[in-house]
Amino acid sequence: MDSLPISAGSPAKPRRPEPARRVRVLWLAALASSFAASGPAVAQGQPKLLEPERAFAFSVQALDDRTVEARFAIADGYYLYREKLKLSILPPALAGPPALPPGKLKDDEFFGRVETYRDRLAVRIALDKADPGRKVTVRAESQGCADVGVCYPPQVQTITLALPAPGAPPGAPVEAAPARKSWFN
């Protein structure tokens, strides 16, 4: 709008902002500077971080009467250490140690080459025997960090679910922690 050519009737008179517009511009400038000021304050060593259970969202699905699948949905910018991940069944009912898929290699200054998981992870866990209808608890011990340079203490999450009947479709995935609804998170 401001760049529209000045009408031919007043060629010598430069157009000046009306007071109302000037006030509006000032308002916007003030608003913009308050945004700018809030930016560095938040970034200054206080990174906005997810709760660990949301950064590493754990869920389990019963695939059949003797198999469950443990999953982690890992938020962007976060990772889990393969070596620190321990999956078990309570009461103990593992057919064998769960086979963790290979992770992404990361060169760690102190720990050398470590394997990490990002994005998604799914691990099938075979139970020692078929036990339809039985309730089992899947326990996951995990430890991860955020790329911004903070690490979360090891956390233990458990999910209890019922195994489906033989031939029945897989059960619905069960989430460890429902996503929290908040304006600020």
């Binding site: 206080q46 200054e109 102190f110 340079g149 903070v150 690490c151 203490p153 998170n185």
Partner: protein
Amino acid sequence: MPAILSTRPWLRRSAFAVAALAALAAGLYFGGGMSGDGDARGRDAGALFGVALPDTAGREQSLGQWKGKVLVVNFWATWCTPCREEMPEFVKLQAELGGRGLQFVGIAIDQADKVQAFAAELGLNYPALIGGNGAIELSKTMGNRLGALPFTIIVDRAGRVVHTQLGRLPEAQLMSIVGQLL
């Protein structure tokens, strides 16, 4: 507008209240990311000084013994790479400024043997106390909402928390804060 406000006090008052509420809301909104993420500034560090934790030799050490110093309490762990990365800077500053009243204290969310091994490897020249999950809770009461590491608290000589930091505390920033307190 100003003329109207000055002639009608009730309007001025309500305008003031609206402005205050707006400022509060803006603060809540824009400060959302920080709420709890390390904003214990200005708070009295009394809770911290009341804490006693064992050192790597198993001797109970009260944080209160360092009252009156410029205290930098660093929550860390051997399994936390960003924690290990920043500790050599703390060792250096402890050596350089310890004589002027700067005191670092590490609280490890870890096992004593692992802490001892890392302390020896690093040549740690300040106390390393062993804290369990209780120490994470302590850091939460000091503003570390998520209990993540590293988390660092700077306390002035009068026992007031002047800065809390989640994540690494760059040396330049640490020096600019501590330099004013020594």
